[in-house]
């Protein structure tokens, strides 16, 4: 099940490893993604820390860690094909995976209905 942040990241927890990406709303607002700057594996990150950068034709935007954890993998496919962020934002276009994630901190984020309601307010 996906959870969402107000900064338009999504996170999906499988066991204690979470996969993170940006939402369909975010990729739509950014436009054509041309480059993604991803974090190194092994890096410890805190909740809300800027850990990746997504570059569209027009601008660069930070991507934040939705919860604390340790980076275990970044999506190597994005180096070859950054447009995956546009075409498959919540599947093949994932950014990085975090280990050591607290299930409670993920649960505390918005679910799909809450995120949809949040999008209505902006």
């Amino acid at each position: 099940m996906l959870r969402f942040t107000k900064d338009h990241e999504w996170i999906r927890l499988d066991g204690d490893v979470a996969t993170v990406g940006i939402t369909d709303h975010a990729q739509e607002a950014l436009g054509d993604v041309v480059f993604v700057d991803l974090p190194e594996a092994g890096r410890e990150v805190t909740e809300g820390e800027a850990v990746a950068v997504v570059e569209s034709v027009k601008a660069a935007s930070d991507v934040y860690a939705p919860v604390a954890g340790r980076i275990v993998e970044s999506n190597a496919k994005l180096a070859e094909d950054p447009a995956l962020v546009n075409s498959a934002a919540t599947t093949d276009g994932w950014f990085f995976k975090l280990s050591g994630v607290s299930a409670a901190s993920v649960e505390a984020l918005m679910d799909e209905a809450a995120y949809a309601a949040f999008l209505e307010t902006i």
């Binding site: 436009g31 054509d32 041309v34 700057d37 570059e55 569209s56 027009k58 601008a59 935007s61 950054p82």
Partner: protein
């Protein structure tokens, strides 16, 4: 995503309703609500312009006429351009310079004179129009009048198929030379058409009365090969073409010599040295400017944006990126900026400090994509 929520209400161009109908994403720009892109997206709009024809609304730009005996001479008090040598039916790119030798604005000036009446047509930047018109007004002698044209729209049609397309509505347009200008009836709208643009492609920029703007734009959009494009594509197109954006690449601190715009200075003006800032320009031509505007090509795929510091590899800061992004036609990141003159040669290795990390780059010749103007 931060929204810029200014307190001042935004102005709209005469094409605002059409932009919304076409699905344009409206953003604030120089006090106007302007389409940054349409549903196709910046990349597709950019590539379509290079392949066929793109329609841009640039009605936010300032238009004016300078009318009366001595108009060209009066304008020369503010610009190093040889305005008096500009023949009827011709347009040129020029700079307004400051007394300190900076660039007050860049603009287009056309000679619309006929039968002994001096008449110049000016197009200035949206962000500078109030300042420019005040500056020009204050410099006018008796008998020369500045008439601003806030009730006119400006629409650009750019790309290799642009002139063929618009010529099906007014055949004479195809005969305009590069930087030629003339009056035509296009789809029942009186249009002042100049063969110029801001993309590096062949094309036209057309001034039409506000009330005819939508009809004119719809007539162009109905032609085969024509698609709308927003300010996002306009910016990536002009960057690939090596063309300056006022406020980014040139401003009151940059001189025409530093900006590599010496070609806009008339030959006669370089013997008279009577334009604002002539002293600095002359000194920089004789002794070299401290810095120069150059093209910058980052290695790899990562773009470097405006204000990115430029260093020598592993060494000292030597300048700054002033425009940078991804070039869809160059199929990679492209930028321009200023570097110290001794490091401005093509091929010079640089390091761009992007978010604190060095990104390898080289000084590269401009433009990144060859100009395809008619000659």
């Amino acid at each position: 995503m931060a929204d810029s929520s200014g307190d001042t209400p935004l102005s709209e161009t005469p094409l605002a309703a059409l932009h919304r109908e076409l699905g344009g994403r409206m953003v604030p720009f120089a006090g106007y609500a302007m389409p940054v892109q349409y549903p196709a997206g910046i990349m597709a709009e950019h590539l379509h312009c290079r392949a066929a024809a793109a329609l841009f609304d640039v009605s936010h730009m300032g238009q004016a006429e300078l009318v009366g005996d001595g108009a060209a001479a009066a304008l020369e008090a503010l610009t190093p351009s040889d305005v008096q040598a500009l023949k009827p039916g011709r347009q040129r790119y020029a700079l307004l310079t400051t007394m300190a030798g900076g660039i007050f604005d860049d603009f287009m000036v056309a000679n619309l004179g006929a039968q002994g009446t001096e008449r110049l047509f000016l197009v200035v930047n949206a962000s500078r129009k109030a300042e420019d018109f005040a500056l020009i007004q204050a410099a006018l002698p008796a008998g020369v009048r500045l008439r601003t044209l806030p009730d006119r729209a400006l629409i650009a049609l750019q790309g290799p198929q642009a002139v063929a397309a618009i010529s099906t509505l007014a055949s004479g347009i195809a005969a305009l030379p590069f930087m030629g200008i003339g009056a035509f009836d296009v789809a029942g709208v009186p249009a002042l058409v100049s063969r110029s643009g801001y993309t590096g492609e062949d094309g036209v920029e057309v001034s039409v009365p506000a009330e005819g703007a939508e009809r004119f734009a719809r007539a162009l959009l109905a032609l085969p090969g024509v698609q709308p494009a927003g300010l996002g594509a306009r910016d990536s197109l002009r960057l690939e073409a090596g063309l300056c954006l006022y406020g980014n690449d040139i401003d009151e601190t940059t001189s025409p010599v530093e900006a590599n715009l010496v070609w806009t200075i008339g030959k006669r003006r370089r013997t008279e040295w009577n334009f604002p800032g002539a002293e600095r320009v002359r000194d920089e031509l004789d002794n070299g400017a401290k810095r120069l505007r150059v093209g910058i090509r980052p290695e790899g795929r990562q773009p470097a944006r405006a204000h990115t510091p430029v260093h020598l590899p592993g060494g000292a800061a030597i300048g700054e990126v002033t425009s940078g992004g991804f070039g869809p036609s160059a199929n990679g990141p492209v930028a321009m900026g200023y570097v110290a003159r001794e490091h401005a040669a093509d091929g010079t290795s640089l390091e761009l400090m992007v978010r604190g990390k060095p990104l390898a780059a080289r000084v590269a010749p401009l433009p990144f994509t060859p100009h395809r103007y008619v000659r």
